[in-house]
Amino acid sequence: MSTDAKTCPVEAQLPCLAHLRAEYCAPSLAPGAPYLAALPALITGALLFLAASGLVLAVHYDPAHGFASLQYIAHNVNNGWLVRGFHATGTTLVFGAVFLLLFRSLYTRAYRAPGQLAWLISVKLFAFLLLTAYLGYVLTDGAVSYWSLTDAANAAQSLTGIPGLLGTWFFGGPAGPGTLARLLVFHAILALGAVALVFALRSAAKVLAPKATGADAVSFHPAYTAQYFAAFAVFALIFALLVFFAPHFGQNPLNASAANPLIIPAALTPPWYLRPVSAIASVFPGAYGGIFGVIAALAVLAATPWLDRSGPHGRPGTLYRILTVLLALDVLGLGLAYSCPSALSSILVTVTTVWYFLHFLVLTPLVTSLEAE
């Protein structure tokens, strides 16, 4: 680990090796970071895994016959069923990790200076992933996602002005035979964007990692590589349990049947990771209601560093932490209530949506300024 760079001829000729060594082998980090600090690295790995499995699927996918080609992949491509399971379960794990990352940043107030930029990148990554996952979901071309796409494309058509132009450009008009081919390209491009964002996030997180000098300091390798590897092993274990024993986790079973242009399902319930946002979007009425709900939900999340009135040095308070846990339960409740549509659940969705915005716009400024005193 401690060979002198000046005496190493390879490093003199290949300076990037010296950079790597300075980055990963110089003792500069404080010990004792939690396992969850590995989340951005795990998200990076999972996104690259999704890109690899997505490439295999894209090779065999035929957007003109989306549902039939996925059946073909599952039945007639060697191990196609496994690759499809990898892609679906990988998405579940990426979202699990991103939800946990956002919760942890809120709970520990990591979003405050100097962490605002890392927080903004996290929220932007979340937004990118939501859009990418939605497109992946409509590419399955099932009985539910077909109608979800039809609704979204028609809603985009009804917009006027710049939003209408953007919507028409994105969907290419009302949903038709060519729409999926278009969305397949956007799915792949947005996924690349998400990979770029997660690398930016890791760069920002590296700056924020606690530093140390002297005897206390540890180098990234081997201290944190060992810790990251342990986190990865747990992550991979959860992945294996889901992909082999619950491959349809969090998906709407109705979507396993082929799209029927004559039958609209009673409820257009998306996969679990899209449910909280879909639930919020469903509360706002009117042509612009859905898109307004999504943007507002993400905007208040992104604005947290400025809604927190405790200043850069205020200590995290107990009440704020309780509120953050309540918010997590609220988002869970949003998803669950949206899963089984009924009169009661639409009331629950409204209540949880109100609480979501109340948390960010009223409770966060109020509680943080009270606790700062």
């Binding site: 007639n76 496994l82 540890v218 342990a230 274990l237 349990l241 992909v243 491959p247 082929a258």
Partner: protein, 236 residues
């Protein structure tokens, strides 16, 4: 190790005939259920016979090719024999590389709505196997206070209780080669097993790979955590 395993294996073989006569209908049980479940190939073969003799008259099964039958324990020759007995719309006999023959009847035959494709029928509902069995065995005479729609039938399991499908399984619709008595519940359970295989043909392999992967990853996790603790102890 072998000294321990051999008597166990012998005991297992002695007990095996008893296990074979196990009644899977009361209470209803499918071998594929549970985290380590596997496909009951004998039941799936019987179910294929029921599908072929009864269901395929109205329902398509587009995701399957005749070659897929080899996964049900048929030899390539047997599968080719089954395929050659099927006459395609153009008059030729089917081959291993043809998809299961669709009925190709107009929707008007069925009162305007085509019967659903059965490729994923057990995946389309939570507890799809139990639902399908309950549906196939759930036809009954309508209670006095129920007025049936024209061309509809009464079924206790179907949402709304009035499917447009008539009761298809009446018992002894097929003759099983293995001597199993073809009662209505037996046929329903067998065709359910067959259709669950159509929707999830790799269930057995999935569970086998999964068990190995999980055992490996449990040990990897233990090892990774132990390594991490050792490295951090040496640092401190």
């Amino acid at each position: 190790m072998r000294r321990i395993l051999t008597p166990l294996l012998a005991a297992g073989l002695l007990l095996a005939p008893a296990a074979h006569a196990e009644n899977t209908l009361t209470p209803l049980h499918f071998q594929s259920q549970g985290p380590l479940g596997s496909l009951d190939i004998a039941a799936a073969q019987r179910g294929f016979l029921v599908y072929q003799s009864v269901c395929s008259g109205c329902h398509s099964l587009n995701a399957l090719h005749y070659r897929d039958l080899e996964a049900l324990g048929f030899t390539p020759d047997q599968a080719a024999g089954i395929a050659s007995g099927i006459k395609l719309p153009d008059g030729t006999a089917a081959t291993l590389d043809d998809t299961f023959k669709a009925p190709n009847l107009p929707a008007a035959t069925f009162g305007g709505a085509l019967p659903p494709d059965l490729s994923d029928i057990t995946a389309e509902r939570p507890h799809g196997l139990h639902y399908l069995f309950a549906y196939l065995t759930g036809f009954a005479t309508a209670p006095a206070d129920v007025t049936l729609l024209p061309g509809h039938y009464y079924n206790t399991a179907y949402p709304g209780n009035q499917p447009a499908m008539p009761p298809a399984l009446k018992g002894n619709d097929v003759t099983y080669a293995d001597g199993t008595v073809a009662t209505t519940p037996q046929e329903a359970a067998d065709v359910t097993t067959f259709l669950s295989w159509a929707a999830d043909p790799n269930l057995t392999a999935r569970h086998q790979i999964g068990l190995r992967a999980v055992i490996f990853l449990v040990f990897l996790t233990i090892l990774a955590i132990a390594t991490k603790r050792k490295i951090w102890r040496e640092k401190a």
